[in-house]
Symmetry: C2
């Protein structure tokens, strides 16, 4: 059997996870009607975790698992696109907060809704209980990942 | 509760899937010792499916779910890095095959081994049975994704 046939018959974890994530990202772009001039999947590292009240870049880095430089670049993009602003942190004037604009708040609300709708559809497709079990295992694997990254 | 706290307490599917995929990609880069001049995660769309005997670009596009233009760009990169060659297809001289070089074959073997090792570690961490159930559900969701993409 050819390697590609083997992988179609028994896809490995990397293939399956990538397929689900890219499908999810495509659906989000479609639903949120973002074009090339708007935020893309990589800006999720900021927009997925950003607080309505604003967040520090270091917190966004820790939450998303991205380097602080990467977060800085993504925030620069989002500032240029009008989704966030950098403001002095009221609790520490030397620190900066990344604060969503009205447009950013709207995008955050809508993307949370789209993900929730996708989850509901998945749960219907495989059954509520199977989906809950799946998500619990996925969460264990995600936490495993965080731990093994921290030790290297 | 702040949005970021809510998401830490109950992370959504997008967050969890991205965390597992990026962890997996980081581990592969580390194990395969690829640097910035070598293939990156995005080249997985070609290297994950490529046949030892060579594959047509259209098949790689269908298997990975990427556009044919994207595959063309990734193949250009891999040709430049010495991992694949474009050769005439012996079964149709007007068509081209993407054929792995020795270096490409070695990378394909090693990355398949690394993914298999990660799967074994995950299975040990959550238990063989829970991991098998997880992978079965993940596969259903991946196939759901392919179907819903095809209809849009």
């Amino acid at each position: 059997m050819r390697r590609s046939e083997r992988k179609q018959a028994d896809p490995d974890l990397g293939i399956l996870i990538a397929r689900v994530l890219f499908g999810l990202q495509r659906e989000m772009s479609r639903e949120l009607r973002t074009d090339k001039s708007g935020p893309g999947p990589r800006h999720g590292a900021v927009l997925a975790y950003l607080d309505e009240e604003g967040s520090r870049a270091t917190d966004l880095a820790a939450q998303s698992g991205q380097h602080k430089q990467v977060i800085g670049t993504l925030v620069d993009d989002l500032v240029a696109m009008g989704y966030v602003e950098r403001r002095p942190d009221p609790s520490d004037r030397r620190a900066k907060l990344v604060v969503p604009t009205e447009r950013g708040l709207d995008m955050m609300r809508r993307s949370d809704e789209v993900v929730a709708a996708i989850e509901r559809r998945y749960a219907q497709a495989v059954g509520e209980e199977e989906f809950a079990v799946f998500k619990a295992t996925l969460r264990k694997l995600a936490e495993l990942q965080v731990t093994s990254d921290a030790t290297t």
